[in-house]
Amino acid sequence: DAGITQSPRHKVTETGTPVTLRCHQTENHRYMYWYRQDPGHGLRLIHYSYGVKDTDKGEVSDGYSVSRSKTEDFLLTLESATSSQTSVYFCASGQSNTEAFFGQGTRLTVV
């Protein structure tokens, strides 16, 4: 399996606080993605990156920002967390967009 790790794996935070989730890959993949998964909604793309400093919005980007200053790292930031952002977040990477390798997920709870 591709070396892709997410941190933290679990986090509980309060409404209104900033939160940053980290995704790290060791495969030198060009593409990286952030998804959220909620019951009844499947996987929804938040933001993605097609290279260092090259990012774009996905299907549900409101309330989220990303940064990719190095090939191996893709950060997802919730500027001011809300309860609706309670979810499981998955990061993925791939050399092309036809195959992505996923991390183990981060369970975020906003109280």
């Binding site: 593409y31 993605y33 998804y35 009844g40 909604h41 499947g42 996987l43 929804r44 793309l45 993605y48 097609y50 774009d56 996905g58 299907e59 998955f90 993925a92 791939g94 092309s96 967009n97 036809t98 195959e99 992505a100 390798f101 996923f102 991390g103 183990q104 997920g105």
Partner: protein, 110 residues
Amino acid sequence: LAKTTQPISMDSYEGQEVNITCSHNNIATNDYITWYQQFPSQGPRFIIQGYKTKVTNEVASLFIPADRKSSTLSLPRVSLSDTAVYYCLVGDERDDKIIFGKGTRLHILP
């Protein structure tokens, strides 16, 4: 990106062959068809990809008819551990995004 339609859920029994069909009427000439598998509490995992006719690997087979407007993922002799959500995706290398639908929840019964 072409839209895909697949059954919400399916049940089958251990030892049976399971076929999950995905419709993608608007598939483009350069699009590939890709299937992912997701176990509970894990991220999705790529299982198979094809462009036309038939592709087989150690996990599954993928059947694509000549018009490519649908595809069928075939899992031979399933076991309880094949219980998972299966996603069908359509896209080509020029798309930067990977968009998942809601997938098919497959439940294998003893």
